[in-house]
């Protein structure tokens, strides 16, 4: 009994040391941390307890669930915004907003007079300007959009105000009309999901 307690204490001590040590960053992402010596390796329960499962240390901060960058409702910006992460606008913007490869959310309090460009755009607020989404545009019922839309897919709720034209890219137009039956088209993997798959593949390759 005393021996078990001693080993458990040793295990937690090792973990703390490992977190403080610089060698933690050298391990490949996705590979479980092992604090046991080769002699202790057969004790699988020890390995499980000592792996805090932080395989995605190399991911950008926003992808770990801390939410998108945000412009609050009392913020006014005139000019151009370029974002390399998801962005939420709930204030007043005049100019251009680009979030290439990322999601742009226009909040319910937003008043935007700008051209918008992003991978995915979700609109709750008011926009006057052209909107270009490479993947999808989602116009919610409280939204007001005056401008032209260019996208692959569009979802528009009843009650949303839209005035302008919609240009669906050719690739989307040749797909079966599944949205008519209320079925969402197949969603492609997000960059985050790709990272997970790649990491898992790398881990498998290194294990071999």
């Amino acid at each position: 009994m005393e021996q078990i307690e001693e080993k458990a204490l040793c295990m937690w001590t090792n973990k703390r040391k490992e977190e403080e040590g610089p060698q933690r960053l050298d391990r490949p992402a996705g590979v479980p941390v092992s604090t046991t010596t080769p002699a202790e390796a057969p004790r699988k329960e020890t390995i499980n307890m000592s792996t805090p499962a932080r395989p995605f240390d190399t991911e950008p901060v926003s992808a770990r669930g801390t939410g998108p960058a945000a412009l609050g409702k009392n913020v006014t910006i005139k000019g151009q915004i370029f974002a390399r992460e998801d962005l939420m606008i709930d204030g007043e913007v005049e100019g251009n907003v680009e979030c290439q490869e990322h999601r742009l959310t226009i909040g319910p309090n937003a008043r935007v007079q700008a051209g918008l460009k992003a991978r995915e755009i979700i609109i709750h607020g008011s926009i006057q300007g052209n909107v270009d989404a490479t993947d999808k545009i989602d116009i919610r019922k409280e939204a007001k959009l005056v401008g032209d839309i260019k996208t692959s897919r569009i979802v528009i709720e009843d009650g949303a105000y839209f005035k302008g034209s919609i240009d669906i890219s050719k690739a989307a137009a040749t797909r079966p009309v599944s949205a008519a039956a209320g079925v969402q088209p197949v969603v492609t993997a997000t960059p985050a999901a790709s990272t997970v798959n790649n990491t898992a593949a790398a881990a498998t390759a290194s294990a071999k």
């Binding site: 116009i139 569009i154 979802v155 528009i156 709720e157 009843d158 949303a160 105000y161 839209f162 005035k163 302008g164 034209s165 919609i166 240009d167 669906i168 050719k170 989307a172 137009a173 040749t174 009309v177 949205a179 008519a180």
Partner: protein
């Protein structure tokens, strides 16, 4: 029994809610309109019933481009409660035309006007028709509905949602019942669209007159 009595877009209103029910109806006019959608590519269509997922999906499903505008909503903004009275003011009428039909000449191959024109009175309706013909390409077509019930004066305002090439769902807009400007019989409509290339009427069993107008 009177032809069409008890059917069509004037069903009995519920005494409590005073809201007409949603109706799904077959539309020969829309079927005719769709024949062009099926046979052509890269058309530009204007839908004047406001943006809806069903209509956008249907039109873009054929590979066409769709423009959306809510002509009834704009009428409400421009003319307010005294709907027909306020159409007489030149400033209101001009504001309405500026907001709804200020597209470049020959912008569209097809226009889904639905039933909006019956709420406009002379001379605004004539100006609106001229604008519609201006933004329509030569050979392009417009689909419109007019209530054919001579006795009706108050008409519920509907949103039109496309189900397929033959059926359309009419959903009442909450609280919107407008006074019709006049009764539109075939003679009135022929005169109204005398500058168009052709007019085709479709007989229906309900109180609705369907019309395809070609430029």
């Amino acid at each position: 029994m009177k032809f069409g009595a008890g059917k069509g877009i004037f069903p009995k209103l519920s005494p409590k809610e005073n809201v007409p029910p949603t109706i799904t109806r077959q539309s020969s006019g829309f079927d005719q309109f769709c024949s062009v959608l099926r046979d052509s590519q890269d058309l530009s269509i204007l839908d004047m019933s406001g943006a809806s997922q069903a209509n956008i999906t249907f039109i873009t499903g054929y590979g066409h481009r769709i423009s959306s505008d809510d002509i009834i909503g704009t009428m409400g903004e421009c003319f307010g409660k005294d709907f027909l009275e306020n159409q007489g003011a030149a400033s209101n009428a001009q504001r309405f035309l500026d907001q709804t039909l200020m597209f470049p000449d020959s912008s569209f191959d097809g226009i889904l006007v639905w039933d909006a024109l019956q709420f406009l009175k002379t001379p605004l309706i004539e100006q609106a028709v001229l604008q519609l013909l201006r933004v329509l390409r030569p050979g392009g077509q417009m689909l419109m509905y007019f209530n054919a019930n001579e006795k009706a004066s108050q008409i519920p305002v509907y949103s039109y949602r496309i189900n397929d090439h033959r059926t359309v769902t009419q959903s009442p807009r909450p609280g919107s019942v407008y006074q019709r400007s006049q009764h539109f019989n075939n003679r009135v409509l022929e005169k109204l669209f005398e500058r168009a290339g052709s007019i085709k009427f479709f007989l229906t069993r309900d109180h609705l007159r369907e019309l395809i107008v070609r430029r």
